[in-house]
Amino acid sequence: SAVISQKPSRDICQRGTSLTIQCQVDSQVTMMFWYRQQPGQSLTLIATANQGSEATYESGFVIDKFPISRPNLTFSTLTVSNMSPEDSSIYLCSVVTGSYEQYFGPGTRLTVT
């Protein structure tokens, strides 16, 4: 398994501003992902954070809205840009450590007012 931390754990932001979420893992991992969980919903994959190259985004998500950095094998950031109330969600990072096993961080609960 892996120990994953996220900062901040929660935040309340104003419409039009941006928030950067950090994800730190206690060991080097190859695969790292960012997911969104809207209120009362399941998880939806936003993008794959690639180390040393641009992230790979899923349909419906774009780099201008959700820029992602992955400077090394233990750290990644997700920025939620120009926020609107529809961006209010829990944002989760996950890592793959072993064959097929994926572990999640505790999440960042974002409220946009």
Partner: protein, 111 residues
Amino acid sequence: TQLLEQSPQFLSIQEGENLTVYCNSSSVFSSLQWYRQEPGEGPVLLVTVVTGGEVKKLKRLTFQFGDARKDSSLHITAAQTGDTGLYLCAGAEGSNYKLTFGKGTLLTVNP
């Protein structure tokens, strides 16, 4: 994108009862994972199944992967109040590890 149908969506039972949660798809998965999520926390991995027909047991929890790797079930025996939570199944396509999640089953075990 593969879709996962999870049922039931809500389940409220008494302590000591048994229950089964189902996860179905028309597509084949290379692996399927079950998670439990409590309010305010991230999903916690319970089990990963990768072989068709595979059965795994985790104390009172029994997980089964269908022979065709299109469906899975989670059976809980003698449920306890501590089993309360959101149970999520998630399937991976090929070897890219990207997970598609079901909508989840919100389980409430009453004392």
